[in-house]
Symmetry: C2
Subunit: 314 residues, 2 copies
C-alpha cells in the first residue's frame, strides 16, 4: 500500500516515523509543510522539514522533539554575549544543516533536491518532500490587527498573541515540489499526521496543485485518514488547541474532524475522546478510537499500523 | 606614549597583547589586516581581526593561536556528514562571531563599528580597527600562472603553491577605516608587529590613506619599529619564510628589515639572529637583538616593553 503522509513538525514527524517503521520504505512519501520556513541570521531554516528528517533518521532530540540529539549550544551562548538575536534556538550541529542548505539554495539548487541529498547523508529511507520549492510563508493575523510572520508569533512571542486567522503568502503562485503530485497520484491512501490543522496542514493544502490532486483522487475513491492532534481538548505540543479556542471553536478532536470534513474517509481519535466518535461518524466518515499518544518508538509504530489497518476498513 | 600597532594574525596578535599589557589601554590602537577576509558558507569571516580581538580579550585558543579557547566543533562535524565545504575550520563559538558580523554588515553597519561593538562585548580595552571598511582582498599569484584568493591558498591548499607575487584587490579605492588616519596622526610611534610582511603588513600599507599618513609622519620624525617574524630563517607560524624563498630572497630577519627599509627607524630581531644586527644597521636603522619568541603572556609583555624602550633610543 503506497502512502503519502502530510506532516508538520514534532507530532507529524512521530507518526511519519511510525509509518516508516510499518511500511516498506519505497511505499512511503512524506510531504512536509514549509510555511514555517524563514530566514534568520542569513540562514534559510526549514523547521518542519528538519524535524521530519531528523526524526526519520533517528537523530532527533528525544526530549524536545525538534533539533538533534547530543546537541551543544555554544554558538547560541556566544551570540548572546555579542547581543545578537538569540531568540531562535539553533544547536551547533543543527547550524550545519542551515548553513549548507543556505549555501546550496544560493547556488540555485531547489529545496527538494537539497532535502533529498541531506536525507541520503542522514540515512533517511522514505522519500521526504517539501510541499514546494517556491516560498510559501505563513502569516498569523492577530486580534491586535497585526500580522506576524510565523516564527515571530511562534517562537519570539511564544504564541502569546490571540489569533484571528492565517495567510499563506505565495501559496497561490507556488508549484508543488517535483514528485509531490506524482506521489499523491500514485498513492493508495493519504494519512494526515497529527499536526496543527491551521498552520501545518493548511499550508500544504493551500498549494493549488496539491489541493487539486488530493481532491481529484478523493473524488475517485482514494481513502484519506487524519489522526487527531487534539487529545482531551489539548494539543500535546504547540498552539493548535489555543488557536481553535481563539477562533471561537471548542478545541476537540471532533472540531479537527469538522475542519477536514469532506476530505476525510476516516478519522483516528484518542481513546480519551472516544465519546466523540459518534459525532465524527455523523460527519460522513469512519472513526476509530485508540491510544494515540506516541511516547516511544513502539507507540509510533503501533499507531501507524492501526491507522494503516483502519484505512483498509474505512 | 601613544602607539599604533600594525598587525596580522597570530604573531601580530601576541605582540599587540603584550603592548596592551605594557601600555595604558587608551594609548594603544591596533590596526589590523583585512586582506584575508572572505565569505565562506555565506559568512563574512575576518580571520586577523578575530585573532587580534580574541587574543586581546584573553579568549584565544592557547594551542592553535587562532580561534577560541574551549571551542567545540560540532557544526563542522555535521557539515562533513552533509558533504559541505568543511576545509575552513570554524568552531561553534567562533561561528557566532561570523553570523552576527554578517547580519550587521547586511544591515549596513561598517566593519569598524561592528568590531568596536564586539570588542566592548568581549572586554577588549585597546582600540582595534580593521584597516578599512571597504573590501580589500589579497590574491596570491602562483608559479602555475594561477591567481588564488588568499584563503584558498592559505587554508584550502595549505600554502602549497609556489608564489610569485601578491595583489591587494580594492586597495586603490579603499578608504582607511574611521579612526585609522587620526590614530596614526596622533601616535608617538608605530610598531609593526611580527606578522607576515607580504600578506599581513603589505595589505595594510596598500591602503593609500594609511600609507601616506605613515610616510608623512615618518618624514616628520615619528619613529617606526618592526619586530621580525623570521627567527633563525623560519617563521614561527605561517608561510612568511616560504614566501621569501619562493620570491628568490633568503628568508632572514635581515630580509625583513630590507623589505621595510626606509620606513623603519628601528628593527627588533631575535638573539639567534644577532649576527645580522650589523647588516640591519647598515640599512640606516637601529637594531636590537632580544629573545622574541612569545610562548607565555610574560614573554609578550616583555617583548612589548623592550620594543617600547627601544623606541626611546632608536
Amino acid at each position: 500500500m503506497k502512502i503519502v503522509a502530510l506532516a508538520g513538525g514534532v507530532g507529524g514527524a512521530k507518526l511519519a516515523h511510525g509509518l516508516a517503521m510499518a511500511l516498506p520504505s519505497a511505499d512511503l512519501t512524506v510531504v512536509v509543510n514549509t510555511g514555517d520556513d524563514f530566514t534568520h541570521l542569513g540562514l534559510h531554516i526549514c523547521p518542519d522539514v528538519d524535524t521530519v528528517c531528523y526524526t526519520l533518521a533517528g537523530l532527533a532530540n528525544p526530549v524536545m522533539g525538534w533539533g538533534l540529539a547530543g546537541e551543544s549550544w555554544n554558538m547560541l551562548d556566544s551570540l548572546k554575549r555579542l547581543g545578537g538575536p538569540s531568540w531562535f534556538n539553533m544547536g551547533d550541529r543543527d547550524i550545519a544543516t542551515h548553513l549548507e542548505r543556505t549555501r546550496r539554495l544560493e547556488l540555485g539548487e531547489p529545496l527538494s533536491g537539497i532535502t533529498r541529498a541531506f536525507c541520503r547523508a542522514w540515512g533517511v529511507q522514505p522519500v521526504v518532500l517539501p510541499m514546494s520549492d517556491d516560498p510559501v510563508a505563513t502569516w498569523v493575523q492577530t486580534v491586535a490587527g497585526e500580522e506576524l510572520p510565523f516564527q515571530e508569533y511562534f517562537v519570539h512571542q511564544g504564541c502569546e498573541p490571540q489569533v484571528t486567522g492565517f495567510r499563506f503568502v505565495g501559496a497561490e503562485a507556488a508549484r508543488a515540489a517535483p514528485g509531490v503530485v506524482e506521489a499523491i497520484h500514485n498513492a493508495d491512501a493519504i494519512v494526515i499526521c497529527p499536526s496543527n490543522p491551521w498552520v501545518s496542514i493548511a499550508p500544504i493544502l493551500s498549494v493549488a496543485e496539491i489541493r487539486e490532486e488530493i481532491w481529484s483522487r478523493r473524488k475517485a475513491g482514494m481513502k484519506i485518514v487524519a489522526v487527531s492532534p487534539i487529545i482531551g481538548g489539548k494539543a500535546l505540543k504547540g498552539p493548535a488547541a489555543k488557536m481553535f479556542a481563539e477562533l471561537g471553536i471548542q478545541p476537540t478532536a471532533l472540531a479537527v474532524a469538522e475542519k477536514y470534513a469532506g476530505l476525510l474517509s476516516g478519522f483516528v481519535l484518542d481513546n480519551v475522546d472516544a465519546d466523540q466518535a459518534q459525532a465524527v461518524r455523523a460527519l460522513g466518515m469512519a472513526a476509530l478510537a485508540t491510544d494515540s499518544v506516541m511516547k516511544s518508538d513502539d507507540d509510533r509504530r503501533r499507531l501507524a499500523e492501526i491507522t494503516l489497518a483502519f484505512l483498509d476498513v474505512c
